[in-house]
Symmetry: C2
């Protein structure tokens, strides 16, 4: 479903080059649930942004559902992002001047979906924020903002969920609830890739990828 | 050193009132290392903002080093914040258009300290970012930004460190390094209050406060 071949991503900083990704070959089949683990700065978010069609690699290729992503127009990419992929950002990326409800509605309005308000409300209730729908991000706690970002990623029923450290600001009980939610989605056929520093989450993913210095250095699978 | 009496903090949302803090009585002696634990939305950041003189309570009183904080002018509060308190924000709050080095320099320049650049550089090296000093926040990973926020909070050698979930975006190795760093500071006499969801960090704090629904509901101490 997702396949990368020798992906690199570098940044030129004056005379220095930062190699955020340094030759990544990564295959994910439909219906898998994969954890991505690695030290701070090892390239996890950079990889996720490329998989989520939010960034293009400096070199190498990426096929999503059989299509070479470098051949898609910006409009086609935007449609793929809206219809197929739900992305939970490490820094949430919420719109500051709109409510939680309106933030979660955005992907639905963009996709021309009816009943956007009702669906957005349900998504917020599912992450425990039914009583916070009219709050704006600066009227929410850190973990509440993180949950709005999760609700927004899932509201369009995407077939692929890319979650970049979705529980870093959550207590263990809420983390367990979100994890159960992800496992349920996976059983319904959703493909999940989760960047995480939390051992509990990594342990529930049947496959775990380890990154260091922009490369995949190790991989383990259960069964 | 820090003492609160019946602190409340509420927000009026139309016809509803959100009770972020609902009667908090909290005492911290000089040199303590206290963990604050509780569910997402239970009031931890709100309490930290009041302890850090970044917010005023709706009612109740707060004494810092024997002075009633409600009697201080804005200028006096700003001086207290700059000289005595180092605050690590849950959402980092870095200046977007300046480098990591400049971000960490800010408290020193504000306090009129010489050698600000050299001290800022050392602080960044201590959190493992010596090779990222010229990067701006959007050129840093999530965990790197979090470490810049930590470095900035510590660069002025404050006697009180208030850290709001300082390791949520860090891998376990980096988390352990930051924790050792905090323990070392504590042994040098710094008073630390750390909001955390991580059991390892809570376990290293000799005292742990549990919050729920804007109240302190439990407390445990070792020895
Ligand atoms: N400006 C505001 N207006 C209205 N409600 C607010 C505002 N700021 C915070 N709240 C509410 O106050 C409660 C406490 O918020 P706080 O940020 O202290 O929680 P927290 O314990 O730090 O949570 P987390 O672990 O998720 O960071 C939350 O339920 C939040 O929705
Ligand atoms: N725009 C940029 N310019 C320069 N360097 C960058 C830029 N964006 C990221 N980097 C660097 O690329 C490396 C990888 O960043 P990335 O965000 O992928 O790390 P990460 O594995 O997600 O880390 P974390 O666990 O801390 O979130 C980092 O060392 C970072 O400093
Ligand atoms: Mg990251
Ligand atoms: Mg908080």
């Amino acid at each position: 479903l997702l396949r990368t071949e020798e992906i690199t991503r570098f940044y030129q900083m004056g005379s220095e080059t930062v190699h955020a990704l340094d030759g990544v070959n990564f295959d994910v089949r439909e219906g898998e649930m994969v954890a991505v683990i690695g030290a701070s700065g090892s390239g996890k978010s950079t990889l996720m942004n490329i998989l989520g069609c939010l960034d293009r690699p400096s070199s190498g290729r990426y096929w999503l559902a059989g299509r070479d992503v470098s051949k898609l127009t910006d409009n086609q990419l935007a449609t793929v992002r809206n219809r197929q992929i739900g992305f939970v950002f490490q820094t949430f990326n919420l719109l500051a001047r709109t409510t939680a409800l309106e933030n979660v509605e955005v992907p639905l309005l963009y996709g021309g979906v009816h009943r956007a308000k009702a669906l957005a409300r349900e998504a917020l209730e599912r992450v425990g924020l039914g009583d916070r729908i009219r709050h704006r991000p600066n009227e929410l706690s850190g973990g509440q903002r993180q949950r709005v970002a999760i609700a927004r990623a899932l509201v369009n029923n995407p077939s692929i969920v890319l979650a970049d450290e979705p529980t870093g600001n959550l207590d263990s009980k809420t983390t367990a609830e979100i994890l159960d939610f992800f496992v349920t989605l996976n059983r319904q056929g959703v493909t999940l890739i989760i960047v995480t520093h939390e051992p509990d989450i990594a342990a529930r993913c049947p496959r775990r990828i380890h990154m260091r210095d922009g490369k995949i250095i190790d991989e383990e699978s259960d069964g």
